[in-house]
């Protein structure tokens, strides 16, 4: 794929991350001032809060979207940094394959966790 296309996806993924990670940061780390999604006195990382998010389809879908966008954006950014160091053709190929395989493996693992979480919450009595 041409670098211009990859770069355009990189910028687009950045915009997706800006919205979804901004929301994630606001929920998880600005809870004392914003108190989003009504977690009340419960901390966002407490099991009750985690269960309520795991069982909400909105969070499952946005987690997977954020996972894919962040892995692509981060992987492509890392690739740019590494390729700027002028690796030879063999090493360049290894960087491309390594980042693609590593990114896809992390995406598969993270997606499995997001999709399996609602069932796990139900099994735990959530």
């Amino acid at each position: 794929m041409r670098d211009r296309t990859l770069w355009t996806w990189h910028v687009g993924a950045g915009l997706v991350i800006l919205v979804l990670l901004g929301l994630h940061m606001a929920i998880m780390h600005l809870d004392a001032t914003l108190g989003l999604f009504g977690t009340g006195d419960v901390e966002p990382v407490d099991w009750e809060s985690v269960v309520s998010r795991m069982q909400d389809l909105f969070f499952t879908v946005t987690y997977v979207l954020l996972l894919g966008a962040a892995l692509y954006h981060g992987g492509y950014g890392l690739r740019n940094i590494l390729l700027e160091l002028n690796p030879g053709p063999g090493l360049r190929r290894a960087i491309d394959v390594g980042l693609s395989v590593g990114g896809l493996a992390l995406f598969a693992f993270g997606t499995w966790a997001a999709l399996a979480a609602p069932g796990a919450a139900t099994a735990a009595g959530g």
């Binding site: 950045g14 809870d31 002028n86």
Partner: protein
Amino acid sequence: METRGHPNRLGILGWIAGGRWGFERYLYALHRVTGLGLLAYFVLHIFVSSARVLGPESWQQAMDVVSGPLFRAGEYLVFAAFAFHALNGVRLAILELGFGVGRPIDPVYPYATSVGRQRPLALAVMVLAGIVALWGGLDFFVLQ
């Protein structure tokens, strides 16, 4: 990425020590440093947060491992890095789309650059990132 004819002689050192660069060049270096830090944290975060699939005991064990003042400070650094990286990324996207750099002009002496035109945007974005980082600091360390 085509680099033929323009070898990157300085390598990573060129991020900070290439010469008398302007403010935006250091934002570029910081953008990369924060990007790498966020990526490293994100990969760890995928594994730590997947403990929720194994139930409440595993989740609590994972949270106990990443608790304490050191992790709290590290988490705040991640928040501040996100604030900088996100807002500087918005600035870069704005510039890439051709906004905020002025109209193209003929290269007539004395040559004008777009640096002066884009500087206010860089300063505004850094002030905004500072406000978000302070807001986060208030939430992380004062109101908890």
